[in-house]
């Protein structure tokens, strides 16, 4: 009979974890209602002994009625009988609920549709849990629907599930298992208890209050460990307690995110009929800037893709400046500018931020993280749509001379920017060599290559070009020479790699068109361009795609490629308004040596926290050190206890009055009544003796000679002295401690020779000398006495849980009692009944459970 209730409770407990998904609490009460309805039907089915298959349909039916009554009562017949109208309305609400869930990011507003959807879902889960637990008697399997419910917030939210929610959910499930176990045992007879044996057998009556099912202990312990252990363990990622979800826990310190097939999307956008505004921006120098979204660095022969990104929590853009641009020498002049970008609300799902390169700082709402290698900024749970953010960039302003000197050395880690798949048409490489003939430096090669694409190569811009499959690349370079930005960017990057210049392809938008005082970027400004690497300045944008009316409208050749080819200029009509001075290097901020501090000025005093960027090894070392420190806690506790006791022993006795009146008396009349006042003060306070004794006991535990329960101080001293075969001095020390303790405990007065700290030291030395090296190490690093004390604390906590259990069970006693009477008359279970009549055993009775 209890089982359906337990199933409902478990579902309710787990559904609590949905809390962070919603704004407002209406969904909760609606869901609780659904659970109550299903549990009630489940109980009814159990009571009426309905066949197991009948219960779930009945529950679903009842759930339907409940939802009708709760949400579409006005359209239903007498408030709850579903009618055609009410069903239609329910369907509409469900549809809108689905739409809303698609539309909103959590926490979603708990409007009617979403509440209905949630209540229905939770209700169905309750039906499933009931089906597994009560009908099929497979309570453990009920964990599956519960887990499904539990994973919803875990999957949707990046934030970890709070631990109280986890504990409640876990207790719900364990409660279900316990109820099932009881029901099972109840069918067989008396529950068998695991009794924790107490050392003392002197208890007058058997201690039924301490009986407990060991399973419950294990459950409680497991949950406790699950909550505490992750909190205690050093964590490389600063994820508190629980780190479920995409954003955490998948890799060392950060999640991965795949990017959509950027190339395919790019082509699609360019071919769109409608040319919608994607974003608008203003910049401090009023210059158009290419806005990069993706940076593709892997070429597999047919298309460009990206290495897995890594957005570590410490690379959140909100945490401080972005990682430094790869390869950019601090000595290189940079031009800083601040760009304020507003992304349109209506764009498709975009989890990457369009940014000018190289960004040094991004101020955007949400959990945006930068990939260290590519400086792509992305988020696993926030979307760019509607976002309004500011970017500070520090564009390198290299002189052609500087670029001539720059070697294209990407460093060992940058070798991959030269990787080309085998099987490329060798003619392409030959062509690359021929085109760049006469160029003496990689930079000149790159410029010649760009010039070849935009001018001398007789390429034409066409959106009808074949896609990027198979040998489309060599076909584009060698024969067709017709395509759009994707082909141009890809071809130039591949050829640059063939020439030994590290290259990758970026995808994003061109600088757009200036409308009013804002730069507007539209769908047709979507663009791809190559980026080539030069040591000292890092990645530089090149523009092989023809611009202007016959090409990509707003594409612009970068300034630093111009001096060598002074005739090459951006198409005049491409950027109406501002294109004339577009790449003027002498803009308002002007080139200046890179000085990180000056960024502050640009940002109007927004403080910037430097990212210390701890290397992994240091973190591991810190983690190991933290773990060691945690392990050493018992040793520290032990040391402090020893120090405290020494202090207590050294304290002059006269200052501390004896805690016990009996002890304060020395001598006196020999009558049996308590003696009167004594003239002599006690030689040493009882606390000192107690401290010495406690320390001795702990020392003995640490060295594996623990005191036995029935051992008096005197017997202990004798045993230790014998087993240690100690020298007379040590024996005298032990005796001093034990006899003082004996007097403290049992004599009228505590006075007499008092133990000194030196006694303890001597005993410790002797103990250590007699112990093995392992034992000595253990005594110093992991003292058993402290560990035992910790365990005792834990046991006390478990006892507390047992007591809670008793409270609940005692309340249910009366119901069990009536059942007994019935059994008594029936004449069976005589043993059980007698147990009930003996006092104190009724607990077992009620544990036997119902006998439905």
């Amino acid at each position: 009979m209890r089982l359906p209730i337990a199933a409902g409770l478990a579902t309710a407990a787990v559904s609590l974890t949905l809390y962070p998904l919603f704004e407002g609490g209406s969904w909760f009460w609606a869901s609780m209602g659904a659970i109550v309805v299903t549990a009630a039907i489940g109980m009814g089915a159990s009571r009426l002994a309905a066949p197991p298959w009948a219960a779930p349909p009945a529950m679903v039916l009842a759930l339907g009625v409940y939802l009708t009554a709760a949400f579409t009562g006005s359209k239903a017949w007498i408030g709850f009988i579903p009618t055609k109208d009410s069903v239609m309305l329910l369907g509409e609400l469900l549809g809108s609920g689905f739409d809303d869930i698609q539309r909103f990011a959590p926490p979603v507003p708990a409007n009617t549709g979403i509440t209905l959807l949630t209540a229905g879902g939770v209700g169905l889960m309750a039906v499933l849990v009931d089906l597994f637990t009560v009908r099929l008697r497979r309570a453990a399997l009920a964990g599956l629907p519960l887990l499904a419910l539990f994973t919803v917030p875990a999957a949707v939210l990046t934030d970890p599930i709070s631990w109280p929610a986890f504990v409640i959910g876990a207790f719900g499930y364990i409660g279900l298992l316990v109820a099932d176990g009881r029901e099972r045992l109840g069918k067989w007879g008396r529950a068998v208890f695991v009794r924790r044996t107490r050392a003392v057998t002197t208890d007058a009556a058997p201690d039924t209050g301490r009986l407990a099912l060991s399973g419950r202990r294990i459950g409680v312990t497991a949950i406790g460990l699950a909550v505490l252990l992750p909190a205690l363990l050093p964590n490389l990622a600063p994820a508190p307690l629980f780190s479920f979800g995409v954003g955490n826990g998948l890799g060392p310190g950060g999640g991965n995110i795949g990017i959509p097939d950027a190339i395919a999307e790019l082509g699609g956008e360019l071919r769109q009929e409608a040319n919608n505004t994607v974003l608008t921006y203003t910049s401090s120098d009023d210059q158009p800037r290419y806005l990069r979204i993706y940076s593709l660095d892997v070429f597999d022969g047919t298309k460009w893709t990206v290495n897995p990104l890594r957005g570590r929590p410490e690379d959140r853009v909100s945490e401080g400046p972005l990682p430094p641009a790869p390869g950019l020498d601090p000595a290189t002049a940079v031009k800083r500018a601040e760009t304020h970008i507003a992304i349109s609300d209506d764009i498709r799902t975009l989890r990457f931020l369009p940014l000018p390169y190289p960004a040094t700082q991004v101020a955007a709402d949400g959990d945006w993280r930068a990939d260290r290698n590519s400086l792509m900024v992305f988020s696993t749970d926030d979307e760019a749509a509607g976002l309004d953010y500011r970017v500070v960039t520090g564009e390198p302003q290299p002189t052609p001379e500087q670029l001539d000197l720059a070697a294209p050395e990407p460093g060992s880690s940058g070798r991959r920017y030269l990787d080309l798949p085998p099987g490329l048409d060798p003619r392409v490489a030959g062509l690359a060599q021929r085109v760049t003939e006469g160029a003496t430096t990689p930079y000149q090669q790159a410029v010649k290559l760009q010039e070849w694409f935009t001018k001398s190569g007789a390429f034409t811009y066409s959106l009808k070009a074949s896609g990027s499959g198979g040998d489309a690349l060599s076909q584009f370079i060698l024969t067709d020479r017709s395509g759009y930005c994707e082909q141009f960017a890809s071809a130039m990057a591949v050829m640059a790699r063939m020439l030994g210049i590290p290259a990758k392809v970026s995808i994003g938008f061109t600088g757009g068109t200036k409308i009013g005082d804002k730069w507007t970027v539209r769908t047709h400004d979507a663009h791809a361009w190559p980026e080539l690497y030069f040591a000292g300045v890092g990645w530089l944008r090149f523009e092989p795609t023809p611009g202007g009316g016959a090409g990509q409208g707003t594409a612009q050749v970068p300034q630093y490629t111009l001096p060598v080819t002074p005739t090459a200029s951006p198409s005049p009509g491409a950027s109406p308004g501002a294109s004339a001075g577009a790449d003027d290097a002498t803009g308002d901020s002007g080139p200046a040596p890179r000085n990180p501090r000056e960024i502050d000025r640009d940002l109007g005093g927004v403080p910037i926290v430097a990212d210390p960027g701890m290397p992994l090894l240091v973190k591991i070392a810190i983690g190991v050190a933290a773990a060691l420190l945690i392990l050493l806690i018992p040793a520290a506790v032990r040391l402090s206890a020893r120090y405290r006791r020494r202090r207590a022993m050294d304290r002059p006795a006269a200052t501390g009055p004896d805690p016990d009146g009996v002890l304060a008396v020395s001598g006196g009349t020999p009558s049996r009544t308590a003696p009167a006042v004594s003239a002599d003060p006690p030689a040493r306070g009882a606390s000192a003796v107690e401290a010495a004794w406690a320390e001795l006991c702990d020392m003995l535990i640490d060295f594996g000679r623990a005191r036995r329960p029935g051992e008096s101080p005197r017997a202990l001293g004798r045993r230790v002295a014998e087993t240690l075969s100690a020298d007379p001095g040590t024996i005298a020390s032990i005796t001093a401690i034990t006899s003082a303790e004996e007097r403290r405990r049992y004599a009228r007065t505590v006075d007499g020779p008092a133990p000194a700290a030196a006694d303890l030291r001597r005993v410790r030395r002797t103990l250590a000398a007699a112990a093995s090296r392992k034992r000595r190490l253990g005594a110093a690093l992991a003292p058993l006495s402290t560990l035992l004390r910790l365990r005792a604390l834990g046991e006390k906590a478990l006892d507390g849980f047992d007591r809670l259990e008793n409270i609940r069970l005692v309340a249910g006693r009366s119901r069990g009692g009536t059942g007994d009477a019935a059994d008594d008359t029936a004449g069976n279970r005589a043993v059980t009944v007698r147990d009930v009549q003996g006092n104190g055993s009724s607990r077992e009775r009620s544990l036997t459970g119902s006998r439905s």
Binding site: V200, T202, V662, G710, S712, E742, R744, Y746, A747
Partner: protein, 326 residues
């Protein structure tokens, strides 16, 4: 009362006590070699105002011990040889008609002494046994409606022979309970036996034994022992130990409250003999077997496993935790 409680210096009293007790012990030891434990226990029981049951095979010196104790104290000693035809009046005494005075006159029996040695007590009929046992407990004798108080100290040292079954009436457990302690003499060590041959071969050492203490001295000792301090934890410990015998599955019958009383009382004496004016758990532990074992009945299981009550008590004492303050 010879001993006056106005002695203020407890230590001096204690020293006197230890000194006197040592004299008695030495005196007995001059007769019985190598049995210092037994002798110490005997003196303990004497000072605890208890009675002693000595059980052992014939010839190990049971009677000798009783006699030596009696002889070392300068006090009236009576010895009763128990036989099946012994009557209660043979112990307590009778009222006889005095023809000269024409009145009934009480003739005190052997129980009117400070130390009564009851030899082979299990040979007497239960009726006679119980007459003695009543005297032991009440310390008085009632004959023909007249009650006669016995003198202090009053100690019965009874011996019994465990192996002789025919014609014996084993003491029922209720009566064994009246004895403070039961001890077994045990065979002497070879060295002690050798010395015994030397000494006893020449003469009867008992004859040379002179009293080393007076009745008044013993009474003073008993009085002093009553003042030995028993702390609350130790009292609790005594109760714990006794309660453990009642709960032990190895025992059919546990120890009685009287056993607790006897245990604590003898522990006082034990502590005083050790020169302490307070009882420690070790006193109780040392005395648990002799004071408790003879009162217990082992369960059938324990009997089946040949586990004697002595063993059971040993285990219990090891298990019961020694008390701390509070």
């Amino acid at each position: 009362m010879a001993a006056t409680p106005d002695v203020t210096d407890a230590e001096t009293r204690l020293e006197t006590l230890v000194d006197t007790a040592d004299r008695i012990r030495n005196a007995i030891e001059s007769v019985i070699e190598g049995k210092s434990d037994v002798i110490r226990l005997t003196v303990t029981v004497l000072l605890a105002e208890g009675h002693l049951l000595i059980e052992d095979v014939p010839g190990v010196g049971k009677t000798m011990l009783a006699k030596a104790l009696a002889r070392s104290i300068d006090c009236p000693v009576r010895r009763v040889q128990f036989t099946p035809d012994l009557l209660p009046s043979d112990i307590t005494g009778v009222s006889a008609y005095n023809q000269q005075t024409g009145e009934f006159e009480f003739k005190p029996g052997p129980v009117f002494a400070n130390i009564v040695v009851g030899d082979e007590i299990n040979r007497a009929s239960p009726k006679t046994q119980s007459a003695l046992l009543e005297c032991m407990e009440e310390r008085q004798v009632t004959v023909d409606g007249e009650t006669y108080r016995l003198e202090s100290p009053f100690m019965v040292i009874a011996t019994q022979n465990p192996i002789e079954m025919e014609g014996t009436y084993a003491l029922p457990e209720a009566q064994r309970d009246r004895f403070t302690a039961k001890i077994a003499m045990g065979y002497p060590e070879p060295a002690a036996e050798l010395e015994m041959l030397d000494v006893h071969g020449a003469s009867q050492p008992l004859d040379k034994l002179d009293p080393v203490a007076t009745t008044a001295e013993v009474r003073a000792l008993i009085e002093a022992i009553r003042a030995v301090y028993v702390s609350q934890p130790v009292k609790r410990y005594a109760i714990d130990v006794v309660a453990a015998t009642r709960n032990s599955p190895d025992l059919l019958l546990g120890a009685s409250p009287r056993a607790t009383l006897h245990l604590v009382r003898s522990a006082r004496a034990h502590a005083a003999l050790s020169g302490r004016d307070y009882v420690i758990p070790d006193d109780l532990q040392d005395l648990a077997v002799p004071v408790l074992a003879h009162r217990l009945l082992p369960s059938m299981e324990a009997q089946g496993q040949h586990r004697r009550p002595e063993q059971v008590i040993d285990e219990l004492v090891r298990r019961v935790p020694v008390p701390d303050i509070k």
